[in-house]
Every structure is written in C-alpha cells, then in structure tokens.
Assembly symmetry: C2
Amino acid sequence: MAELEKGPTGRRRGRGARERILGASQQLFREQGINRTGMDQLCAAAQVSKRTAYQHFTGKDELVAEYLRRFDPSVLSDVFDRTDLTPRERLLAAFDVPPNAPLCPFIAAAVELHDPEHPGSRYAREYKMAVAARLADTAREAGATDPEQLGEQLALLIDGAAARTRVLDADAFPTAAAIAAVLIDNAIPAAVGDDHPREAVSS
Amino acid sequence: MAELEKGPTGRRRGRGARERILGASQQLFREQGINRTGMDQLCAAAQVSKRTAYQHFTGKDELVAEYLRRFDPSVLSDVFDRTDLTPRERLLAAFDVPPNAPLCPFIAAAVELHDPEHPGSRYAREYKMAVAARLADTAREAGATDPEQLGEQLALLIDGAAARTRVLDADAFPTAAAIAAVLIDNAIPAAVGDDHPREAVSS
DNA sequence: CGGTAGGCACACAGATCGGTGTACATAACA
DNA sequence: TGTTATGTACACCGATCTGTGTGCCTACCG
C-alpha cells in the first residue's frame, strides 16, 4: 500500500512535506514576492499545516534561504554543461531565457530582504559570484584574453537584462545578448568567426 | 518674525509639511526600503502628525509615487545638461555615480511594489524609458549610427550596474563604464578617439 | 476681536504578519 | 500491543501595518 499518500483524514506522511513547502515557495515567492507572501497562505498552498512548516524550518528566513538554493540546477548547470555547444555559444546561451521569464529571484530577494546579512541575501551574493565565475571559466575555455573581466561583464549584462525586464515589463535579454556578442568577439584574440568575424583590437 | 518656524508647542505652519514628509521619504525609503518603512515611523521622522500626512497624500501609494518623482533633477538633468562635456563624455558621465551610491530607487520600487499598475511602478517605467531616450538623444548628438539602440544598451548597462551593486554590495559601475566605452566606440562611425581609437566594424 | 484653516496628539479600528501552544490522529516500528 | 515520530486542526499571541475619528490648539486674516 502506498506509504507516501494521504490517509482518510488528510495525512501525507513519507517525506513529502518539505518538498511541498519548497514547491509552494517557488511559485508564490516568485509570483507575489517574498514579503507579500505570508506563511499562512504558503502553508495552505502547500497543503501543510503551519505547525509542520515550523518544524521543518526554524523560520521564514531559513525557508527563504532554502528556496533560493533550489535554483542552481536549472540555471547554472543546464546552460554551462552543454557539450553540444562551443564555449562561445555557451556564453551566448546564457542569454537565451525562455519567454516565460523566471525573472531572477536573487535580485528580487536582495531587494526585498534588504539586509545584506540575511541568509537569503548572503546566498544571492554567493550565487551571483558563482555565475560570474562559471562565465569566466567558459570565457577562459573560449580563449578570452581576460576571462575574469569578460565573465564579470557578461554577468553584469545578465543582471541588467533581468532588472530592466522587471522594471519595463519588456524582454531586455536580446539587447543584452547583442552586447555580449560584441564583448565576446572583442575579447577573443583569434576570433573563430561564427557569423560575423571582426578583427580584434591591436594591443 | 519667521512665519515658517515652530511655535511654542511644536507648530510648523507655512507650507513645510509636504516637503518634510517627502524629505523623510527620500531618506527612509532608500535606507530601509518602502515596505519596511511604516507611516508611523515616517511621520515621526518628518516631525509631522500622521493625521496631517494623510491630509496631504491620499495614501502611501500616492506618497511613494511622489517620492519617486523627486529624483529627476539630480539624476537626469545633472548629467545630460552639462555643456562642458562632449556628447561622448556625457554618455560616459552617466556611469560616474558618486561613491555614496544612491542605488537606483526605481528598480527597488518596481521589485518592492511588485504590481506593474501601481503608480510607483508606472512612474519607474516612465523614468527608465525617459533615461533611455535621453541617452539616445545624446548618442545621436555624438553621431552614433543607431542612437536608439545605443541608448537602450547604455540604459541596460546602468541598470545592470545598479542591480549588481545592490546584490553584491560592491560597486559595479566601473565595469559597466568599461563596456559602455566599447559600445560607444563601436557605434560611432568616425570615432573621435579620446584615448584609444579603434576602427569601426566595416559594415 | 473672532473666524477659519491647518496642524497636533492620541487612541483606535481592522487586517495581516511571523510564530506558538495544545490536543488529537495516523503510520511505522518495537 | 504500545511507543514514538510525524502531521493536523485551530485557536491564539504580540507586533506591526495602513488608515480614521476626535478633540484641542495656534497662527493667520479680516
């Protein structure tokens, strides 16, 4: 008999509570923001009693931090681990956000939490730095002269596109991708021209 | 006798209430964020009774919108109206934010208010579009081949620097300025080399 | 002098917030 | 069988939020 399904009165044992809470967080925090989502509403959406939620997380702060940690796989790995693309294509693929824009939750969290020492803010910082680092790694792989600089530049473009998309309510990633293409071509000495080769600046 | 100073019991008549409220908003909304600043605290900081505040503004929403409208002079005009700079220098001057980073309140407002139809969000959008337009104007003045595109690109860089500065707690504007310099040089056909001339892409 | 407008102090309403306390029910394990 | 986790339902706490209602007070103006 299924041991992780509900009993007659509404039990859902078997390790599912945490996951449901975090799943509801993913949806509600992103749709409504962190501060505008109360624990009552969140627990109702997760079909979890509030008491249980506070047995899994010491407080909302910890829940928020955990919620942010659930973005790594879909954002970092999916883009950088593709072996079917050249390094240069991988750098550009970071700007191909699907139309249903997830709209970077880390910037939102940093603004909403507003305390740089909040665990969520800390993790947002770590994440952004990790993205820049991975971009730099890929830039190095692509043969950029200054990979760290290019990585930081591309990271800034991504954040700019995210922020601008949020404020203007219009997709700004194509613009960012266009800038990225220019920067990448300028940063790679012997440009393996993909579509429009351009001579690099002569020292 | 001064007619806009306080009386013995704490009166401060003479047209000063609105200004003090908005002044306190400037400080508190920026330091603490909009949602984390209650009307009680704000009125106390403005030395204004809560009753008076709600006679000047129909609600917090209107106050927030008014608060955002007080940024124009210091951000838009100061940079673009400088006649002692060449158009190209003016474009780059937009990235010279003073060390005491004001840290773009429009992005913060768009995130915190979270409702695109909130008057504050509306104005944030208008403002960002106005900045891009002024950048485009200056780009046209500088002789860019596609001023609108360059304006949008530079606006994205500014937003990216602001967002990244906020998340990482480290000044990202120099990086943005470096990218801007590249874009500007690439966008102006006959580059009037300021320090490191570079040949434009040959059609 | 008296009227009026603008402001103050303060209590309060209603809602929502994060977080707990309590008593009860179920499943797994002994 | 009984014990122990794990979870539920629900009331509740204190704090804080936006926003009002009320009464008084004082500066200005005629």
